[in-house]
Amino acid sequence: AQSVTQLDSQVPVFEEAPVELRCNYSSSVSVYLFWYVQYPNQGLQLLLKYLSGSTLVESINGFEAEFNKSQTSFHLRKPSVHISDTAEYFCAVTPLQGSARQLTFGSGTQLTVLP
């Protein structure tokens, strides 16, 4: 079984400041890792994912996340946030093995970018 912990439920930050959203996971097997974003009144959109290879992955809108196997973390960062980044961010994992590939989500972090 897997579990995901997002340590911060709310992260307020001023526009153009850097931000880090923390994610730690626990699993007895190797996992793939994901960050999803949920804008108000919308569904979940994939932001970025780590499947294999380079441990640093990037999204098209400036976010990046680094997989740290020893610390079982997959923290999300952005060097300079915009008002439009205000949303809820969910970290999720799925096991490499197995046919169903269900996602296990963290409880989410509400990022609020202030002007």
Binding site: F34, G43, L44, A92, R101, Q102, L103, S107
Partner: protein
């Protein structure tokens, strides 16, 4: 760009009534999922479906729930006798099974009165 669609966007029902939530996954996808998100809580896995049968289901997915792919395009979630605690946002997702990226629909907000 292909996307997962869900209907209706909002469903209001009386406790004890049956509801059917509908999803149209991306056309070449093979694995289908339902998740739910109770207001203020995390997104929870309900069930996965592959090759016309349930692959896995969570403890939440009891006998009141069922899933079906009736016509090769739609994927439905039925709740036979709704309870107040079934009020939630229900998300459908699909994946090819090879990239392991699940694509989510916009959700159906179910309100049980």
């Amino acid at each position: 760009e292909p996307e997962v669609t869900q209907t209706p966007s909002h469903q209001v029902t009386q406790m004890g009534q049956e509801v059917i939530l509908r999803c149209v996954p991306i056309s070449n996808h093979l694995y289908f999922y339902w998740y739910r998100q109770i207001l203020g809580q995390k997104v929870e896995f309900l069930v996965s479906f592959y090759n016309n049968e349930i692959s896995e289901k969570s403890e939440i997915f009891d006998d009141q729930f069922s899933v079906e792919r009736p016509d090769g395009s739609n994927f439905t979630l039925k709740i036979r006798s709704t309870k107040l605690e079934d009020s939630a946002m229900y998300f459908c997702a699909s994946t090819t099974g090879f990239t392991d990226t699940q694509y989510f629909g916009p959700g159906t907000r179910l309100t049980v009165l």
